[in-house]
Symmetry: C2
Subunit: 154 residues, 2 copies
């Protein structure tokens, strides 16, 4: 994949596909599994660490999109292994933890958010890459509403 | 993948992931490569057949998402082979055809639209699947703007 294509974003303070991947990597490292462990080990007594939504802007510096893809793949595989070892049961899904801003949340909600957060950012990355074709498609642009969509769509 | 997840859409007259896949299959069969052939063989003299954007609602009936995935994979592989055999050069990219509504378009624009149309619908399918987590994520919903996004985003 060309750097032009993966580094393009939707304007100031928006993520490129490259940024999205770094953001997902940071989530694998500091968010989903660490928070699941806190819920299982401490319940609501220990609040989660706040998640840094912009950590990737520093952490990904100097890396290539291929390096990030490899890194994400390894981390995700490792985390799914840890998740399996947690032997999540319906009872465990009801366990609760403390989010630093949102307050009481369940393990079930945390795991659903892991999936939804992923999908939302994948949709975003694909949309951003799609928009790089805005000029190349010529008159077809009017049939492709996604090319005009705002970043507010997620 | 569960049928509930892949059959859900974003409201009346919107596509589910299942519908998107059928739509992409119909494009592989009747749109991109057939139109490229018309440009290469007839130039602007023969207008393209209009593309039926809703053909999948009939064509996909009774099929499973796995069947559609297999079908799409086979068609795409076949079409990329045909594209390779076309030996597209920078000169050929400038050749023009006649779109039934848009008028004169270039082969370059057609091929860019093939890519952009794909990406736009992939972003759509992922977004629609993401939205199925709207309730499951609980209080995290406020951090996931994609869950509130309108279908108009593409």
């Amino acid at each position: 994949m060309s750097a032009d294509w993966t580094m393009a974003n939707e304007g100031p303070d928006t993520f490129s596909a490259f940024d999205v991947l770094g953001h997902l990597i940071h989530g694998e490292q500091t968010d989903w599994i660490p928070r699941a462990k806190i819920i299982l080990d401490h319940g609501e007594a220990q609040a989660f660490e706040p998640f840094d939504r912009f950590a990737q802007f520093e952490k990904s510096k100097g890396k290539t999109i291929d390096q990030l893809l490899d890194e994400f793949q390894a981390l995700r595989k490792q985390n799914l292994g840890i998740l399996e070892q947690m032997s999540i049961t319906p009872e465990k899904l009801k366990l609760r933890g403390t989010h630093p801003e949102l307050g009481s949340v369940s393990l079930s909600q945390l795991l659903a958010t892991w999936a939804a957060h992923d999908l939302g950012h994948i949709a975003q990355a694909v949309r951003v890459m799609c928009k790089q074709y805005s000029d190349a498609v010529g008159p077809w642009k009017q049939y492709l509403p996604i090319l005009e969509s705002k970043r507010a769509a997620g």
